[in-house]
């Protein structure tokens, strides 16, 4: 079922007939003889190891493959292979058959095992195999992914060892090597090394320089490689009776974070710190005029400058923001405190070219930033967006809309205006001594404002004078403190100004309310007044009527009297 189709010849024989000449540094009885004994040669070497004497083991050259590749077997094609490389198994093409696949696979693996310590590059392989290079590439990638080739166990073990024993690993390894990380990401079954770390440790220091080289620059030609093949055999010999497959794939990705110390010393090639520093200053001053930048840096060509610049983690953002701040930016603080404060360094980096004049700044920067590969940059667009304060959220949103340049300019202008208005604020932002005084009142808020860099520059000069000799740590902490102060001062100012504005608005509202109420009252009064007038009119009319009626009554009375008088006069006769 899993075996070849369309072939017909028995596979093992064919594979073994592969002539393996060429330079063999070890294991003279190389692959052809071994696999016939063991179904899965390298992976599960536990059984064999016990039966073999160390010398034989040495000769047999244990090939290590990671435990998650344990499914691999010479004679068969596994489902994983079928799924990953379907072109060979769908029967559509004469040149892509399972038989051909097996040939490719075995050839590549054998080629690798001729010299397992070096990295087998694709270019070497493809010259020796007939077929579409893209397809070959897929097979090669597949084998490498599963650790069947180019699996450098010593490098992984070394990582773990060096973390426990404090060995220094060349920074190149951590910065530029992606493979261990890949393996980490995809490794399924990870077993802990219960190996004899004591004996391994003696072997590994020797293997360290060599294998470090090998894994740091994949594609190293075979020539320039390990000069301690002996140590390798130690490593293979020792843990024969234990399951030693390293879980230290995990650790290899952690070393990048732990070794920021070394990153400070050499950074991506042969750029020293001073050169990087000069580069950044030059870019801040000259923008994208690479001729002047290269002149400023001095030791690096134009091309190198550009390359190095784009490799900087924030390079992308900077190029669009050069020239915003007219100050000779000296804001190592900004970056440093940014990375310490956490989460907002992107916003800060938006406009400040850091002059990394403190190792610590570089280290923090290096360790935080270098690990953050460019894709992460894009995710951090609105740093304040998750702030609980809705006003700041609005500000953040607006800033994100207009772009970092405008936002920075606006922020600068705002702070300048504020500083003018309020001398206290100005002081707080601009002097370090006051920062200490201010310290008492501030709590840790953890947000940076763009004014940071501007104000920090004054503080920087002081900071440098004050502690020229002290260790980086103390200096850094002081700077961190004061810059933290600055941060708090700045943020409080921002919040304060917002509060002031809102109070003004509230006052205005009150006044309006009063005004409205007054007008209501007025209207009511007028209404009353008109009513009163009305009634008065009524009264006067009534009075008139009353007087008229009086008159009428009097008249009637008069008439009666006259009538009765007349009657009396005419009556008694």
């Amino acid at each position: 079922m899993a075996s070849e189709e369309g072939g017909g010849t028995s596979l093992p024989a064919e594979v073994k007939s592969e002539p393996v000449d060429g330079p063999l540094e070890q294991a003279p009885d190389a692959p052809p003889s071994v696999p016939s004994e063991i179904p899965s040669l390298a992976g599960l070497s536990v059984k064999i190891s016990e039966s073999l004497k160390p010398r034989e083991a040495f000769n047999r050259e244990m090939y290590r493959i990671p435990s998650y590749a344990g499914w691999f077997s010479w004679g068969k094609i596994h489902t994983i292979e079928r799924r990953a490389l379907p072109e060979f198994f769908d029967g559509l093409s004469l040149s892509k058959t399972p038989k051909v696949y097996k040939e490719y696979r075995e050839f590549i693996i054998n080629k690798y095992r001729e010299n397992p310590r070096r990295v087998l590059t694709f270019t070497e392989v493809r010259k020796m195999l007939v077929g579409d290079v893209n397809l070959l590439r897929k097979v090669y990638n597949f084998l490498e992914y599963w650790g069947l080739i180019n699996y450098h166990v010593t490098s992984e073990n070394k990582q773990q060892q060096s973390i426990t024993s404090g060995e220094q690993i060349p920074s190149n390894h951590s910065a530029s090597n992606n493979k261990p990380k890949e393996m980490l990401a995809e490794s399924i079954a990870v077993t802990r090394p219960e190996s004899n770390t004591a004996t391994l440790s003696e072997a590994l220091p020797q293997a360290v320089p060599g294998s470090a080289l090998s894994s740091s620059q994949a594609g190293q030609p075979v020539v320039r490689m390990l000069d301690q093949p002996v140590s390798m055999s130690h490593a293979t010999r020792v843990p024969l009776h234990k399951d030693t497959y390293s879980s230290s794939v995990v650790t290899s990705s952690m070393e990048g974070i732990g070794d920021s110390q070394n990153m400070a010393n050499e950074w991506l090639g042969n750029w020293t710190m001073e050169e990087v520093l000069r580069l950044l200053e030059a870019v801040g001053k000259f923008g994208e005029d690479w001729i002047r930048v290269a002149a400023h840096v001095g030791t690096k060509s134009r091309l190198d400058c550009v390359l190095r610049f784009i490799k900087l983690p924030f390079g992308d953002q900077l190029t669009s923001n050069i020239g915003v701040s007219p100050y000779p930016i000296d804001s190592g603080e900004a970056i440093q405190s940014g990375s310490q404060v956490g989460g907002y360094e992107r916003k800060e980096n938006d406009f400040a070219t850091p002059s990394l004049d403190r190792d610590n700044a570089v280290e923090n920067f290096g360790s935080d930033e270098v690990i953050d590969e460019p894709p992460y940059k894009k995710n951090r667009l609105s740093p304040f967006a998750d702030s609980s304060n809705p006003i700041l959220a609005q500000v953040a949103f607006l800033c994100a809309m207009v772009g970092p340049r405008v936002a920075a300019a606006a922020a600068q202008a705002a702070v300048a205006a504020l500083a003018e208005e309020d001398p206290v604020v100005y002081q707080a932002l601009n002097s370090s001594t006051n920062a200490h005084a201010v310290q008492g009142g501030y709590k840790d808020i953890g947000a940076l404002s763009a004014s940071q860099a501007m104000s920090v520059k004054g503080e920087d000069a002081e900071g440098e004078d004050v502690l020229p000799e002290k260790g980086h740590q103390t200096q850094a902490s002081k700077d961190a403190e004061t810059s933290g102060m600055q941060a708090r001062a700045g943020s409080n100012t921002a919040v304060g100004s917002v509060a002031a504005n809102s109070k003004l608005v509230a006052d205005q509202e009150e006044r309006e309310i009063e005004h409205l109420v007054a007008s209501i009252l007025e209207d009511q009064l007028r209404k009353l007044q008109s009513k009163v007038e009305h009634y008065e009119e009524l009264e006067s009319i009534l009075e008139k009527e009353h007087s008229q009626l009086e008159k009428a009554r009097l008249q009637v009375l008069g008439d009666w009297i006259r009538y009765s008088q007349y009657h009396y006069n005419a009556g008694p006769s």
Partner: protein, 262 residues
């Protein structure tokens, strides 16, 4: 099952014309001259971009390289012509299925000279010249960052020409003389798409997937790093050759036009 999969013939479904790569990007070559200044460039272009982008691109290029403004219309024209040419093929159908060609690299980028050949399946629409170029540069540790794109471009150019060939079987096309000369396309061999079977046969009598040892060197990249003087000498020679060629071409054209009215 014996003849069923012969050269993938049983399941030949045709595909619309496009670059046989994962990303449909076409190679654009620019070689314009204005008042004695010559501008040569080569890059990949996405034919789905609106044509307005061409103008913007030309402008930006001229600005970045501080060229005189007179270059802009020439560049635009050149790009547009090539894009249009590509578009004119777009409606046609390409043969699908496996067709393996031997691509060659023979180029010089600054001080790096690369010569190489390798097999490439035109029917593999997921192929990636950029990835291949990256791999070469990494494996050979070439640190000039311009080499990768140049290699990818060279591959793309050849793929393009071959794709055009495969389409134009029913259509009369003139591959420009220039490219024919430059690439020395060996028509006798490569114009026929090599089927997989033949490929196997050719490589070894056992029809093994492993190449014969004596052929290994042919299919390996040969890289030379030249010193500055060599580079300068080479450039001077190339320029002289180019001038001579141009004159030759003009003469040829004249001859062709004059004497081949039939």
């Amino acid at each position: 099952m014996k003849g069923g999969a012969h050269g993938g013939g049983a399941l030949k479904s045709n595909v619309k014309f496009r670059m046989p790569t994962a990303e449909n990007l076409i190679p654009i070559r620019i070689d314009v001259e204005v008042e004695g200044q010559r501008f040569k460039d080569a890059f990949t272009w996405n034919p789905n971009e609106p044509d307005l982008e061409i103008t913007g691109f030309a402008r930006r290029t001229v600005k970045d390289l501080n060229l005189p403004m007179a270059f802009i219309p020439l560049i635009i024209q050149s790009i547009q012509t090539q894009v249009n040419e590509f578009r004119s093929y777009e409606g046609l159908e390409m043969i699908a299925g496996e067709r393996v060609h031997c691509l060659k690299l023979d180029l010089r980028v600054n001080s790096t000279v690369i010569r190489d050949q390798f097999l490439w399946d035109l029917g593999n629409l997921e192929s990636d010249p950029e990835e291949f170029a990256r791999c070469i540069c990494k494996d050979l540790e070439l640190d000039d960052p311009e080499v990768g794109p140049a290699v990818a471009f060279a591959i793309r150019e050849q793929l393009y020409e071959l794709a055009v060939l495969s389409v134009s079987s029913g259509r009369e096309t003139r591959i420009s003389k220039k490219s024919r000369r430059e690439w020395a396309l060996d028509f006798s061999q490569s114009s026929k798409a090599v089927s997989a079977f033949e490929l196997m046969k050719r490589s070894s009598s056992k029809s093994s997937a492993v190449r014969k040892r004596n052929e290994w060197d042919f299919f390996e990249p040969i890289v030379e790093i030249l010193t500055r003087e060599e580079v300068e000498a080479l450039e001077a020679r190339e320029e002289r050759n180019a001038r001579i060629k141009k004159r030759q071409e003009e003469k040829d054209d004249l001859y062709v036009n004059r004497y081949s009215r039939a």
